[in-house]
């Protein structure tokens, strides 16, 4: 991938390729001082190893008998068994293309390094996300590159007691781009449209949506933490139709990772992108400009807004707009509260 291509893919995807972080050469400090396994093996190491579910080190169907009591032996064996399963197609994807094995073994470990060691993320209010059954998580969008969606999904899976997967809804631009579209689907994403949202909610999934869309991701640094317009409120009608509680979530820290100082609109039009960002480091430093700045992140899930009693009003625009406004207000106020708790964006 050339630097430009990479920049393009990263600059506008709601789903960013986490390669930027992995390849940045930064070796983040590890809480327990251990080093990662060389294989893309499911790593049970790390500060909250207990938070990695379904990743027992012993492979279920290894072709080789293992020797007991040797950590490295088991890691290598499970890594090889993982590679074999991948190469022989011996895994399952759901009807949306979600591949839990790949997400657990490759994507979430990379994101874990990012949100835990690079962004020092603190999470609150996880009890507001339902442990079973559907939930619609609505967040503020920020950061030029939509790392916030990816971080939110990894945080929810790692820290929530029921280890729920967040099924993200992405703009159709995400699914237009080769490679990015594949990663988006494999990590549980799908196109933001009502049929898909309702289908996921009806099957009891936790769905994540960012109603600001590109207006939120592509806003200038001077407008940080000011919520943009919430579109037509399609997410509210999806929740109403399925009677799903809406959980607003405020994410602080995303705005500072790539502070967008200017937007070169003609270039964006030329490349058919919603915006072309200029940050203190991009495009001046080339690929190095794609390293996110290490801001301090706070994520707060707010109390759920029940909608089960409003199922009949899914097509009533007034109810939909009022509810969307309520969600928007909740997120905005929580953002202000979190910002007071974090005076220094790059603090510890």
């Amino acid at each position: 991938m050339s630097g430009l291509d990479n920049g393009r893919a990263v600059a506008n995807g709601r789903y960013d390729v986490p390669l930027v972080v992995a390849g940045s050469g930064d070796e983040p400090a590890r809480r327990d001082g251990r080093h990662p396994a060389p294989e893309p093996a499911p790593d049970a190491q790390g500060g909250f190893g207990s938070a990695a579910p379904g990743q027992e080190p012993a492979p279920r169907d290894a072709a080789v008998p293992e020797r007991a009591g040797d950590v490295w032996d088991r890691r290598v064996a499970s890594g090889l068994a993982f590679l074999r399963r991948r190469l022989s197609g011996d895994y399952e994807v759901d009807e949306f293309g979600f591949d839990p094995e790949l997400t657990d073994a490759v994507v979430h470990p990379l994101l874990r390094l990012l949100y835990r060691d690079w962004f020092r993320t603190e999470v609150g209010g996880l009890e507001h996300v339902p442990a079973d059954g559907a939930g619609l998580i609505v967040g503020n969008h920020s950061g030029t590159v939509a790392l916030d969606a990816l971080v939110l999904s990894a945080v929810l899976h790692d820290r929530h007691p029921a280890h729920r997967y967040l099924r993200l809804l992405g703009a159709d631009l995400v699914f237009r781009m080769p490679v990015v579209s594949g990663i988006a689907r494999k990590t549980g994403g799908t196109v933001a449209c009502n049929p898909d949202a309702e289908r996921l909610l009806r099957s009891g999934e936790v769905v994540g949506v960012f109603p600001e869309g590109f207006k939120g991701v592509g806003k200038l640094y001077s407008e940080r933490y000011k919520l943009q317009r919430f579109g037509r409120g399609g997410f509210v009608s999806a929740a109403l139709r399925t009677g799903t509680p809406i959980v607003p979530v405020a994410i602080v820290g995303g705005e500072e990772i790539y502070p967008m100082l200017a937007d070169i609109k003609p270039l964006a039009r030329l490349l058919k992108l919603p915006y072309f960002p200029v940050t203190p480091t991009f495009p001046w430093l080339g690929p190095l400009g794609m390293v996110p700045l290490p801001s301090k992140w706070l994520i707060e899930f707010c109390p759920p807004i029940p909608t089960a009693h409003l199922t009949d009003s899914a097509d009533d625009p007034l109810v939909v707009f009022n509810l969307a406004d309520q969600v928007r207000e909740t997120i905005q106020q929580t953002l202000h509260r979190l910002l007071e708790r974090r005076p220094d964006p790059f603090g510890p």
Binding site: L87, S88, D99, S181
Partner: protein, 357 residues
Amino acid sequence: MTPGGTPGAPGVVVVTGVNRYLGAHVAARLAADARIERVIGVDPAAPNPELAGLLDGVERVRLDLGSLGGLLVDLDVDTVVHLALVTAPDPQQGGRSAMKEQNVIATMQLLAACQRAPGLRKLVVRSSTAAYGASFRDPAVFTEETEPREVPRGGFGRDILDIEGYVRGFRRRRPDVTATVLRFAPFIGSTADTTLTTYFSQPFVPTVFGRDPRLQFVHFDDALEVLHRSVAEEHPGTFNVAGPGVLSLSQAIRRAGRVGVPVLEPGLSGAVALARNLGFGRYGLDQVDLFVHGRVVDTSALEREYGFTPRSTVAAFDDFIRAHQGGVVLTRERLAAAERAVLDGIRQVRAAVREQP
């Protein structure tokens, strides 16, 4: 296999396209059903010697679908099963224009004849999940109510939309006829021979770079079962027929032990169209769109209405793999052996290192 004693069982059945693989198998299966009095196979083409053995119990009429009207009235036909669809243009048989003639014009003529047959009670039409088209804004799973967001670029997809449009018109004009439209996912199985089965039989399989479409198949035997039940029972409506579950293309290629060769997307459509016009290359825009967008349908309506669940996409594909072991590049056994060799090697090296002081 089929619930017996159904009052809706027909007397005289006409099956179109019996000189093709699907038509011949359906006609043979209906002929073997004792509840059905007569099965008449209609095809304008000369009989296919490979399939002739199947058609012993079937009365065959070599007839253009345009002149079907007299036959329907004279023989007091009460059910028509329309299977004569061409999925890909055949350069030897007139290419795309002949394909459109056979798909669209012949269906129009057939429906016109059906409309004027007073004794007709049932019409079963083969359609395809290509009816949903392909667009980046598509929902991940199509239900029968999903409207295509863009008209398909491929010829087959457009034909399917036309055919379904004509069937809608027929339903309006003859509400007394039970019309069943079956939208089939691509057929696969141990014996079926389609564009996709030849595609997956090659050792090196072209894919589109950066795209990993979700695919669904229906096993050929399950398709036969659904068609049989549609004739023997009453199932008005439009139904998706596909194996539940999903395979991604990369996963299917790996399961089949083939090697995917990614091809860059820009210019691919043009290159495919050009190759097609020049008369070589088996793939058209229908296939390109499928391999970029993928296609997954909801089959709950079929399961509710027919009380029948086709075997899953994965099981259907496994059946295909078992029958096509030639040309396999990577088998599971070879991968397991490689895994064992690497692991043993690492263990030996580590043991040797440990023994050194």
